[in-house]
Symmetry: C2
Subunit: 123 residues, 2 copies
Amino acid sequence: MANSTFDPQSLKYNDAGLIPAIAQDSLSGEVLMMAWMNTESLARTLETGQVTYWSRSRQAFWAKGATSGHVQRLVELRFDCDRDCILMQVTQVGAACHTGRRSCFYTAVEEGQEVEKMKPLED
Amino acid sequence: MANSTFDPQSLKYNDAGLIPAIAQDSLSGEVLMMAWMNTESLARTLETGQVTYWSRSRQAFWAKGATSGHVQRLVELRFDCDRDCILMQVTQVGAACHTGRRSCFYTAVEEGQEVEKMKPLED
């Protein structure tokens, strides 16, 4: 199959112009977080190699780690068969989660109970 | 921290009553797909151990693999810090993707080009 030029606008965005983007640790395979991108944050991510989301709460670009130092460097970017979800392999510095945990997915459901599976990283 | 009882309604759903759910191969760590759930599909998934999404196109429950046989058995279910995204470790039978590929994330963006990284599984 011949490759074709990628256009960020060719992906499918929701009514708010956003697409979910999953960040996965490129070494461990751990899923770190899911956040949202618009066409411009996707373009910035590809151009700079620094993962940049769109913050729905702040309605602003969110260059991951710009204030915390917990940057995500892009290793590989893929999208799915429906072109409506992004998966990124990243190199994560420190904690991906604002709670100080490596991953945002630290709560499991076990036998009907919420169970915390991960502690915040030591500084 | 004391554990607390999990209530599917305690998660945060969008205006359509849906929450994104990521399926990850529990053995390889490969991210297989992302689809959507409502409270009832989440409850069914936990009760039956068979991953059940909500199909936005068909507006119906989507017991993964019910027709194709490519079922997803739930190994572990987690949710994120904002309680607005689900991550599942699953045992995937065959292809997760409707194209016959193991994962829906088979297209990478490399130097501005779309590159297919995965072929459909052999039957």
